[in-house]
Every structure is written in C-alpha cells, then in structure tokens.
C-alpha cells in the first residue's frame, strides 16, 4: 500500500460516480441532461481533487489494492500518477463539455445521457486501473456506450460507421488480449507495476521466452496493434473519419477529446514499459508510421469537404505528434543529453494529449453549434462571411482554430515545441519530415477560416445567430484554459514532469 492512500477510496468513488449518475439519468426522463451535468461537474471536482493529491515523487498515488481473484492474477488495483490524473481531469472536462453541448437530444435523452456517463466511467476506470484484467474491462466498457451513441444518435451513414468503429477497435483489443494472456501464462501476473519491474530488469523477456519461445517481438506487435487502432496510427486510422463524422458532434467530442487518449495512454502505461527493447528494435518502421500519421493525416484533411472530417483528420495529425514523441524516445539512452531529450519528448507528448483533447473537443463543439444554427449543414463550402453576422462566434472559434494550428501563446504550441525539442536529437529525419505537418495543418485551418468566416455573406446566412449569453459563458472557461496553458504551461508541467522522470527511470529499451 502507498503512504498517500487515504481512508476514502477516491478513485473508486470517481469511477463509480458516473455509473450512479447513469442509473439516475436513465430514470429521470427529460431531466436526464441536468442529472448528467451535475454528475459530470461533480466528477470534474473529484478529478481535480485527485490532481491536487498526487505524490510529489511522481510515482503512483491514491493506491487502492484488494484481492479479487488472486489465483488468476486478478486484483482490484487502482492508482494514479501525473499522467493518469491528467487524463482523469481531461476526461472529466471533455465529458462535461460534451454534455453541455448536447442540449438538442430529443430522441430518448435519458438513454443518451446514461450512455455518456457510462462512457465516462469507462474512461475513469481505464485511466486508473493498474491490473490488466481490470483495465481491459473498462477499456471495453467505454467502447460499448460509444458504439450505441454513434449507432442510435448518429448521422445518415451511422450504421456502417458504428460497426466499423466497433469491429476495428475490437480487433485491436483481441490482439491486446492475446498478448496479455501470453504474458500472464509466462509470469503469472497481470499487474502493471509488477510487470514493469520485471521488464526493467529484462526478466520479462526471459520468462516469456522460457514459456513460449522467442515471441516477445510478436507480443509487442500485438499490444501495439491494439493501441495503434485506438490512437489511431496510420494506416489503422480509416475507421476514424467515418466514426467522427457520423457520430453526433457531442459524441465526437468524447471520441476525440478523451477516448483517443486511451490509446496513447496505453502505449505509455503498457506497451513501452513492458516491451521497451522490442519497440526499440522496430523503432524505425514505427517512426515511419508515426511520420505518415502526421503527414498523411494533415494532407488527407486538405481534400475533405465536411468540417467534421477535416477536424477528424486534423486529430489524426495531432495525435501523430504523440506517436512521434513516444517512438523517438524508445532508444537505449546514452548519456545525460539523450535523457534530457527523452524527458522533453515525453513531457511534450503528455501535454499534447491534454491540449489536443481540449482543443479538438472545442472545435467539434463549434461544429455542433454551426450545425444547430444552419439546420445540419457543415460542408466547408456551404458557408462564407460568417464573421459579419456572428463576430463573437468567429472570434472564439478562431482562437480554438489557432490553438489547433499551434500558435504560440495558446496551448497547442508548448507541447509541440517540446516534442520537437525532444525528437530532433533522437531522430532528426523523422522530426524534419514531420515538421511539414505543421505547415499543412496551418494551410488546412486557414482554409477553414477563409471559407467559413471570410468573403461576402450569402443571403441565407445574413441572420446567422451569434453566440448567445449562455454559450459564451460555457465556452469562456475552455478558451480561458487554452490561453492559460499557452502562457503558464507549468500549471501542468510541474505535476507531470516528476511522473515523466519516474516513468523514464523504469523504462528499459
């Protein structure tokens, strides 16, 4: 047990709260949104409380550990470090944003909000679990509500999109599951901490080889595949544009803002700690895929005509930087300079996870508002000159867009800067090619601004309503957060950095 654990099982409470909220929402008919709002707000409070109680050392805090099925290596083992806690806060913020954005759900709102809350619980569970079984349960638990939310409340082509999303992610999960079964067979443990320890001494590989033969590399690939689909990594990303486009925009906010982070988180919590040497072995092809994710993601966005697909591909591009940072740092570190670069890259990756979550969710929120005002229209060529009838809308969405572009002074820049600072000395070719992504993303985003907000106003949008008071009030904290993190990134960095150092100390490549 950990010295920081308290009497109150904070993490279990956090994970359970949305489930209770979901149950209430299910029975509260039209008031479901209010229930969901209260639940998500309370969850955010709790998540922030967790954030403030992190141990200074960067290690696991708030640990809860109970025997569950010891003979199967299954334990109820929860805990968070800076990374996990940051993801909890992010999930809570994004879910709150999503619930706030979803005030036009007419069809079975009780079920809708109940599912959203179950999804939130799944997110919390998977960001706090320290045992594979437990973690996997929540990983899958989050998938099911997401599937139904797309399937039942999505756009006209929601059926295939939902199926593709579910099946593809499931396929990834199966690969993960198989790999973990093999690990369990070899070690008799499913505890992340224990396995990380085994891996850091090289014992894990020996045990796997002893039991199953030289299959460590294949296990690594299996685990990577599971996460590659979720993040997603090129070329396993094709489910994403369809799912993001067909899901109702508040659900897209959840998918991109929080769920995509489960993949990156999995890489950091599971893949890298357990399979460091194997990943280092196939680092070059992985870097190629990361660079392809960045560059092809950005470029595919160029050709899209649907705002949601534009931002979907832009999300692929942004998460590509996380992949780049993670794979670039997978080298046996030689000396202080390389370690400094690794630390910079990993800090950058974690910042980028948070920043992308906030910014992408905000962008899809704006799309939701555009759709609401235009009766469902979201084609990039359908609009023009909206800045005139809706100056505040244009201004605030402009800030979110420039945050996505990586403008210094807003949140996106610091993460990307740190990633490039870390990656350049470790893999300069990959860094140099990826930097093209920054240019293409800028072109995409400025094209959106040009086509939607500039030019003459078409007759039919002459009375496009600007943001009303409530919407401004709801958006203000998000925009404020973008500015805050752009100017004072130490709000996050100071808590994440100890965790980064702690993680790096336990990783072996």
């Amino acid at each position: 047990m950990n010295e920081f654990s308290t009497g109150i099982p904070l993490l279990s409470l956090l994970t359970g709260l949305p489930l209770i909220g979901a149950a209430i929402a299910l029975w509260s008919g039209k008031h479901a949104r209010a229930v969901a709002l209260i639940t998500t707000m309370s969850s955010l409070m709790l998540a922030l409380l967790v954030w403030t109680r992190l141990p200074v050392s960067g290690g696991m805090g708030l640990v809860e550990q109970l025997a569950w099925a010891p003979s199967l290596g299954i334990e109820y083992h929860l805990g968070v470090d800076g990374l996990g806690a940051l993801m909890l806060v992010l999930s809570a913020i994004v879910t709150l944003m999503s619930v706030d954005a979803a005030h036009r759900v007419h069809h079975q709102p009780n079920l809708y909000f109940a599912l959203v809350l179950v999804l939130e619980s799944g997110l919390f569970g998977s960001f706090t679990a320290l045992n594979f079984f437990h973690w996997f349960l929540f990983w899958e638990l989050s998938l099911i509500p997401a599937f139904f939310l797309i399937k039942l409340w999505g756009g006209p082509r929601r059926g295939p999109a939902a199926t593709q999303f579910f099946v593809y992610t499931m396929a990834g999960s199966v690969a993960l599951l198989v790999a973990f079964l093999a690990i369990f067979v070899s070690t008799g443990s499913m505890d992340f901490g224990h396995l990380t320890l085994l891996a850091s001494t090289g014992e894990l590989e020996q045990m796997v080889t002893a039991h199953l033969g030289p299959v460590s590399l294949w296990l690594a690939i299996g685990v990577l595949a599971g996460f590659a689909v979720k993040v997603p990594m090129f070329p396993f990303h094709t489910w994403l544009p369809a799912a993001y486009a067909e899901a109702p925009s508040p659900v897209t906010m959840l998918l991109t803002g929080a769920m995509s982070k489960m993949g990156v988180y999995g890489l950091l919590r599971i893949a890298i700690p357990l399979f460091g040497p194997q990943i280092a072995q196939i680092r070059t092809p992985l870097l190629v895929l990361a660079v392809a994710t960045i560059v092809m993601g950005a470029w595919a966005a160029v050709a899209q005509k649907d705002l949601k697909r534009v931002f979907a591909y832009s999300s692929v591009n942004h998460l590509g930087y996380c992949l780049l940072g993670i794979f670039a740092l997978a080298v046996p570190s030689a000396g202080a300079a390389a370690q400094a670069s690794q630390a910079a890259a990993l800090n950058g990756v974690i910042l980028q996870m948070f920043n992308h979550g906030i910014t992408a969710a905000a962008l899809f929120w704006f799309v939701a508002m555009i759709q609401m005002r235009s009766g469902g229209g979201r084609g990039i060529d359908d609009f023009g000159g909206l800045r005139k009838p809706a100056p505040v809308f244009a201004g605030l969405m402009g800030i979110a867009l420039f945050s996505s572009l990586g403008l210094p002074g807003l949140n996106g820049f610091v993460g990307e800067f740190l990633i490039f600072r870390g990656v350049f000395p470790l893999a300069w070719v990959a860094a140099t090619v990826s930097i093209l992504g920054l240019l293409v993303t800028a072109a995409v985003i400025l094209t959106v601004i040009q086509k939607v907000f500039s030019g003459p106003v078409p007759e039919r949008w002459a009375a496009f309503p600007d943001l009303h008071h409530g919407e401004r009030l709801a958006l203000a904290p998000v925009i404020g957060l973008m500015l805050l993190l752009g100017l004072v990134p130490q709000v996050i960095v100071d808590s994440v950095n100890p965790t980064v150092l702690n993680l790096l100390a336990h990783w072996r490549f």
Binding site: T52, Q164, Y168, V185, P235, A337, P408, F417, L446
Partner: protein, 699 residues
Amino acid sequence: MMMQEEAAVAFSPLTQCYGGSSFAAHMLWLIPALPIIAAGAIALLKQPRRKTSATLAIGSLSFSLLLSLVAFGQVLMDWAYGDYGSRETVNLTWFQVGAIHVDLGWVLDPLSAIMLVMVSFVGLLIFIYSTGYMAHDENYTRFFCFLSLFAGAMLGVVISNSLLLLFMCWELVGLTSYLLIGFWYQKPSAAAAAKKAFLTTRVGDIFFLLGMVWLFAQTGTLLFYNNGGGSMEHVALSALLAQPAALGLTAAGAIGLLIFAGAAGKSGQLPLHVWLPDAMEGPTPVSALIHAATMVAAGVYLIARVYPLMQAGALAGGTTTALTVVTWVGASTAVFAALIAVAQNDIKRILAYSTVSQLGYMMAGLGMGGVAVGMFHLITHAFFKALLFMGAGSVIHGCHEEQDIRRMGGLKADMPLTFITYSIGMLALCGFPIFFSGFWSKDGILEAAQHWSVAKAPFYMLVFGALLTAFYMTRQVAYVFFDHWRGHKPAHESPAVMTVPLAILAFFAITLGALGTPVWPWFRAFLDGRAAGFDLHGFAEPGLLALMTTSTLVVFLGLGVGWRLYGNKSTRPEAKDALENAVPWVWAVLRDRFYVDELYGVTVIAFYAWWGRVADWLDRHVWGGAVTGVAWSFGLWARLSRFLDTNVVDGSFDKGCEELSAGGGLLSRVQSGRVQAYLRILALAVVALAAVLIWSARP
C-alpha cells in the same frame, strides 16, 4: 498538510535567475506588455466605443515610447561614459522539464534600444495617422485592437533575449499581420492574401523552428546572453563550431541557415517574397507599419540578433557560409524586386516591391558589412518607407480609394503637403546625395560590397538596383504628382491628423543620415561598441569618394531616364507604358512578376492539392479496403467462436455467459440486429480470457 505542499509544487511562479542592474532593464518588459494589455482591454469593449479604443491604443504606445526612450537613454549614457559593451539582461525560467530549463528573458543593448525607439515612434505616428485614415471604417475598434496587439508583439520580438520568446512573439506578429491583411474580410482577395501571407511566412518558420530546436539541443539554452552561458556567447559557439553537420557545414552554419530561412520568410526574401505584394490588400496604415517599417524588418533584426552565430568561425576579414548565403539572397532579392517594381501600376504594389528590394539591401548589408551596416539601412528605411506608404495612403484617400497611378496625376497642386513629404521620402529611397538619409545608409552597404572578399557581383547588382530604384520612383512620382489629373472626382488634401505625421517622418527621412556619415559614424560606433569621433578625414578613406560619386551618378541617371520617359507626358490612362512600347516582352515579364506566382501555382500549390487528393483516395480505397477485410475476417471469427462457445467451452461458464448477455441485452433492447453479435463477441472474449486464466493458473 501533505496536500498543501503538493499543491504548491503544482504551481511554481516564474523564478528569476539572473537580473540586469538598471531600472530601465527591469522595466523593459512593460514596453511590449502595455500595448498587449491595451489590445486585451479593447477586445473586451463593445463595438461602438471608437474613441476609447483609439485612446487606449495610442496612450499605451505613448507610454511604451516613453519607456523606450528611457531605455535608450540608459544605453546611451553607458556608451557615453565609455561602457561600450553595455548589455543588460533579465532572464527567467519559464518552466523546467527533466534537466532542461526553458528560459525566457529580455535584453537591453544598443541593438534593442535603437530598434525599440524606432518601432514605438514610427508605430505611434502610424496609430495617430490611422485615426484619420480609418475614421469611417465600421470596424474601427477592432482595427485598433489588432494594431495594438501587433505593436506589443513586435516590441516583444525586439526585446527578446531568448530565441524561444522571440519566436513566440514572431508568430504573434505573423498572426496580427494575418488579421490585418484580412481586415476587410468580406473581400475574397483580402482573405486570400492574408492566408497566403501567413502560410508563406510559415514555410520559413518551420525551418526556423527546426533551427531553434537544434540550437536548443546542442547548446542547452535558447537565451542569447546569460553571463557567458548563452547560446550567442563564446562557449556555446565554439561547441557548435566543433560539431559537424551535413554538406561541409558546421552545426553553427546549418542552424544559422535554418534561422535565416525564417528571416527570409518574414522579410520577403527570394524565394519567399510572394506574399508581401499581396499583403497590400490590408489598410494602408497596416502596410506602412507592418509591411514596410517594422514586421518585415524583423527578419533583418533577427539576423542581426543572432549575428554571433552567423559569423561564428569567420577569420579576420573573411566570411562564413551562412553570411555568404545571406548576401547572395539579399543581393538577388534587391535586384529582382526592383525590376518588378518598374512595371507595376498600383501605387502600393510599387512600394511593396520596393520594400522587398530594400530588405534585400539590408540583408546584403548584414552579410557583407556587419550588424551596423544592415541595421542603419533598416532604421532609415523604416522612416522613409513608412513616410512613402502613408503618403500613398494620403493619395489614395484624396483620390477616393483609387490606387492605379495611371488614373492619378497633377496632385502636386491638389495635395501640396503630401507632395512635398512624398518627394522627400522618394529622394531618400533613391539615395539622393548628401541631404537624404537613404544615401548614407545605402552607401554603407555599397562600400561593404565593394570590399567583400568573396565576389564582386553583389556590388554591381546593388548598384544596378540603385539605378532601378531611382527609375521606378521617378516613374511613380511623375505619374502621381505631375502632369494633369486623369481620374474621375477631383482629389483633395488629407486632414492634418494625416499630414502632420507625414511631416514628422519627412524630417527624420532627411536628418537621420547625419548619424551615419563617414565624418561622424555614430550609428556604427554605437552598435559596434566603440567611441565615435568627429573626423573630417572620414571621406579620405581610399575609394570612398569614388564610390560616392558613382552612386550619385547612378541615382541621377535613374532620375533622368525616369523623367525623360514619364515626366509630363500627358498620357491617357489606357495608353501603353513608355517602356512597354520600347520592349514589350521585357515589360510583360516584369509586369507579371517573372511568373513566380504562376510557377508556384503549378508546382507547390498543385502538388499540395494533388497529394491531398491522393491521401484521401488512399484512405478511402486502399487502407479502407484493409478495414473491410479485417471486418470480414472478424465476422468469420465471430461465427467460429459462436460454434466454439456452444460446443466446446465447458458448461460451467454458461452462467457467466448468460449474465453478460443479459447485461448486453439490457442495452440492446433499444437496438435490433447485428449489434448483439458484437456484444456476444465481447462476452466471448471475456470468457476466453477466463478460460485461459484458469488453465494456466493450475498448479
């Protein structure tokens, strides 16, 4: 107890590492902060509060100017008392990751002090001028908000003692430039020009960013000066020189070139010059402030700031690869843009190409003569080019938004004040001898070119550029101010709020030259950290008088030929240009700007769009096909599993299965069809997991 400690760790304030001593250095951050705060305040205002917004913007910049003068005075005092290398820095750690400190800071030295005074002074005049020029614009408030934000960001670039802080302000400057070029966003051409400007400069910026992270990785700091530990100081530079990079360059040279790419984007150097002429879509005060006097000069300033890096490894009297590249790019740009300016008919576009050309002079000056030579031209140019743009604004205003010089004429009678001040600016730009500042600053560059050790070609290129400059400016002035009125509605003189700033700038366009004559080379001495003596023998330097004579003759030749072709020629607006009649094909090439935009259109832009379509096609058909395959095989697997489930798996697991199915069924009640199949897969996966676990956990 524990909680409080942890919360304290989570938020550490900026900590000061090393401070300068003087009050001026400590207060330096206020200079950019004031206009930025004003911009924020204006942004929160309601739209119709025009007077408040202008007052806030002008008031805050006035304070910045005051503080800049105090800072300048401080540096000047140090210098006057013989403390030539005066440089005060204040550095802060922004945040820390691992062993890396990400530091920001500001610096007060002759370079930043001179630039501060120039930017805030010229900026203030343009702010005042804007209250007249933009008086009838419906978005007056927003204009001052953006203008203020620009001024703050630009002043931030100037004071930065950290390449990172400089880059951040640099990007903010780019943002405000984007916002102001596209200020009249309803015009599609303005929106397109804004986008083009941002993206073209960003091409340079991504190289800049690479250079920056490289420098950071190599030296461990992005501070320029930090008591010997900065990246522009001896220790870091020798380490960079010892580190080889590709193509025979040292790391110092390669990083220098990458940073220069950023500077070339901002300063409109070849081949990234294409955005600057289009940027003229913005309101004229914006062109004067951002696209003539300050922002476009930021690239030159950046090179001056990192000059120790650019120069690292040069032997006495020699040069480095980086500086050689700077020189060639600068000299080529100078001639190239001047040629294009000859064949333009838009009053602002002529000036825009002229700006590109003059920025080329500055770069060449930096490359061959050093910081002082390039910076002197930057300062004099800022004054006379701002003057010219504001004069052009006055002309456009007086001619009812007409910008085609063929539809003007005879304005010297209608707009006498504008005419006089414009002529002063024009003569300064041409480098008219003795009495105008441009003569002295340009001669400094030519003199450096004459003595350049690598090649003589830049010298001839720059002399040819001077000839062209005199020629195209004469053409423009002849069209606009002489002959008779060819427009529709008669022109009128602009109000005093516009003409008084013109007069002030005109005064400086003449007098600033006195700071950099060979008799009293104060500017150079101040920047280089030497004493400046008054010495009549300054002219006696070998070759100097010959050079001055040459450049004088060249200017007169340009003026003469220009006047001969265009002076009082009484042409109709539709008539062909005199030069077009003489050499039609040359005219066509120049008028169409050497087809560079068209070339980019069929290469870079076409590739960008085509590759976008390819990426999309690959996604939909190739990678998407793989997904279909996975989905299909997955379905097959599901069917197989179902078979296994019912026939193979031990009956003791059926109960668990049922429970899970029931849970799934609860959700799937709202749904029909294949969903259940997938839920079953999930249930199955869990069962399979359990099965293997049991199996493997046997003793």
